[in-house]
Amino acid sequence: MHSKIRDAEIRALIRADDPWEPVGPTPMPTLMDLRNWDLRLLSTYEPFYAPFCDLCCLCTYGKCDLTEDRKGACGIDMASQQARWILICCLMGTAAHGAHGRHMIDYLIEKYGEDFPINLGTQVNVEAPIIRTVLGVKVETLRDLRTAIEYVEREFIHLVSATHTGQEGNYLDFESKAFHAGMLDHVALEAADIAQIAGFGYPTSVADTPLVDLGWGIMDSTKPTIVVVGHNAVTANAIIDYLREHDLYGKVEVGGICCTSHDVTRYASGAKVIGPLSQQRFFLKTGLADVVVTDEQCVLLDIPQMAKETGAAMIACSDKISYGLENASERPADEIVREVLEEQKQFLILDPQKAAEVVVRAALELAPKRSAQKQLLTEAEAAALAAKCRGTCELCNRTCNSLLPVAAAVHQAGQGNFTKLGEVFRRCHGCGRCEQECINQIPILRLMQAAAARDTFKMRSGRGPIHDVEIRKVGSPIVLGTIPGVVLFAGCSNFPQDIDDVAWLAEELARRKYIVNLSGCAAMAAAMKKDDEGRTIYEKYIPEFDAGCIVNVGSCVANCHVVGAAIKIANIFATLPNRANYELISDYILNRVGACGVVWGPYSQKALCIGTGAVRWGIPIVLGPHGSKYRRLYMSKKEMGDWTVMDGRTKQLVDTGEPTPEHMMVVTESKERALVTIIKQCFRRNDTPPGRAIKLNSYISAYKQVMGTLPDDLQNFVRTDKDIPIVYKREVVAYLKEVGWQPKPVLSLPTIIGTYETKVPIEATIK
């Protein structure tokens, strides 16, 4: 709710009198401020639910069976229960990023003071496009970032409240709230990444960041070896500082798993990326690490046990994951090190500098004593361990959520053939459930040590924000459609098939001149494929935000920079005011910026939340098959839907008859289908005929490649004969004639502002 007092408070927080831009209609929006926008989006892109569970087990009225049209004791129906669950999951994601940001910002304020300036270098003027658009504040200091996080926290309590039994009861309102959570998540992402760029001096205003080593085989375990796991690199960076201060940098091996590895290599390019989340358990079971350090998010919960089994030391560094360990933050380092070494004790240490000292000293002491435990299983040893498997009970297969043929692979390994197990390794996300089920207690993940190729790769380290000058260069071709799209591969490594499918998709798009961005575990997986000359896509493609280039923005929190780039296209390039102007900017992106997010290996609530947030900005999301287990998508009725929009030029409603973007969140079954879907999701109503022709050229060429024919829905996307790509002109013309195609209007100022109740005047779209 707004009140005069709150409005005055907001004006003070965002320094409303700063003249950089007039304050738009929605500074620091509340749950209700963008509800009409949400409902408008949801009227075209209806929620699609695939219940994962038919019951509601949340309160003690239940369990309640919600099958078909049944209602729960509280009156909730199946659709609303799914939507509530989605909101809860999105809140988990927002909380993870928000708390991460809060920790990072508090830590840096403690270190440098709240007036510490945010400077992202000479190439970045619009420093925080998301925060500017959502809150209306121009970020100048760490204090402003804290303001952003405090706004997230304030909204958060209302959203969580809505999930209680007897609160929100309509699925569309739950979805609107999930959008709100998604938007808050993006604010948190941006605050967190900007804070760490400024506070730790990560690359910014540089495109050509260093190539770093990647792959589990890259770790030189003859050195003392430290492995950092998680997403919050505060302690990992302190370890690097400690090594540098003690002349040990390069003499001690530091490798990371998951996003901490992105961020530690942004801090020190000599650190290494072991791999994505999916290889966490596999690697930790190899015993190659002398010390395992956990921070937060996507960290396996049995790490203390795995560390014990391999004789490695283990230090937890986050209050979010304390593992029941003693909090030794206040104890002297000497004492802790002694107990680690002599008693094999594991500790929680929340002081990054102290943790760093303990970790390095323990690694130096332990390494010489652990050489026997750092030996990988040989093929003969693995075959012996697998010998008992007859490959027939298939209990391992049945429990495998990646649907992998584990039984056959283990059986073959027992006979000394590791080919199939090698293939399983590349598809495995390392849950270890197969081992639990095995009646012969075969350590299947350890067997993979003998099967997994020890290839090493190069990945470009994360570069942070897209530069304003890059935006200026590509703004026009993106909006005209002549750069066919901006694609972000984000998220986790719960891939449906081979881990290198992300590289395949990225390259198929880059060679068709899309601007390809990657982040998080997807960015790592994309490094795990080499061409005939042994180059990964990061070595092969230019790291700029430009057509046919491939950019690694960084860790999960760096996802904000690609959304930020879409906002900057509207703001810098088209000079649309973004200050507290959420709807205007999102409308611009939805109608004019051909951007698409892809989460090919979705698993986490964070990825769901990021994706949901992207949809509210008008950016469609394509998910891999596991995304169906998120249980909610946003899909249009395609050609059956109502595609009427406003022509900003004439202020008349026009039925465009073209379903673009076609869906806002959709799952695809195979990588081939994903390719053509991603290409299609980059179509925008605003595409000029030459731009649409280029986009259709990509669509047709990819469709022919994977389906063998012209696209079956081509008639939906050809508006006039000028949209027809010349290469395929003759066959397209013949096809259109056959299906009775009729021309559709081409608008130069399409907008959905004016098609629903909003404070934004239609004139605002004409800037």
Partner: protein, 188 residues
């Protein structure tokens, strides 16, 4: 005989948390009877039909025979279309799995041949976890149709499902029996 409720599908990820499970069609002839009753059936082919051998043939060969026997409209999902064309069959429609499920939810949809909604939808070869999610959608939100998962891993969220058939030989026998019975009977 059809079992009243399903006990456990092949994949644990597909274990039902709910009260309404598929009828397991133990006897292929019972499955044929279901198909025979349908007025406007649709057959959805998932990506595994072109990649999964059943003995010395591909799964798609069997699925095509079932479809042809009753002239059932085919929807090719994923990238199945390419292989189908190579086999000389043009699918009636091409959608990805989630899209076709989305359309099937709408009773007012004209169907792939413009004859109105489909009253029975058969599924074969869709990735098991994804198929189960789509079947859940249809179970709750498409009361106007029945689903039959012709998949040896079995699907609790379908209306009708094949039992878990671990051995490929049994699966082949099931399919062949079904095709034979289709040949020997007539639609209602």
């Amino acid at each position: 005989m059809a079992s009243e409720t399903m006990v456990m599908p092949y994949y644990k990820v597909n274990v039902l948390t709910g009260s309404k499970a598929a009828k397991v069609i133990d006897v292929p002839a019972d499955g044929v009877a279901i198909i025979n009753k349908a007025k406007n059936p649709l057959y959805v082919f998932g990506e595994e039909v072109i990649a999964t051998p059943v003995g010395d043939r591909l799964l798609i060969d069997f699925a095509l025979e079932i479809a042809k026997s009753r002239d059932i409209a085919i929807c090719a999902t994923a990238h199945v279309k390419k292989k189908m064309l190579e086999l000389g069959v043009k699918p009636d429609s091409v959608y990805d799995i989630i899209e076709i499920v989305h359309f099937l939810k709408m009773k007012e949809w004209s169907g792939v041949r413009g004859k109105g909604f489909h009253d029975l939808v058969l599924f074969t070869g869709v990735r098991c976890d994804l198929a189960e999610r789509g079947l859940a959608t249809l179970k709750h939100f498409a009361p106007h149709l029945k689903t039959f998962a012709i998949c040896r891993r079995s699907h609790p969220n379908a209306d009708f499902a094949v039992p878990v058939l671990v051995k490929v030989d049994k699966w082949r026998e099931y399919l062949e029996d079904m095709i034979r019975t289709l040949g020997a009977t007539k639609p209602a």
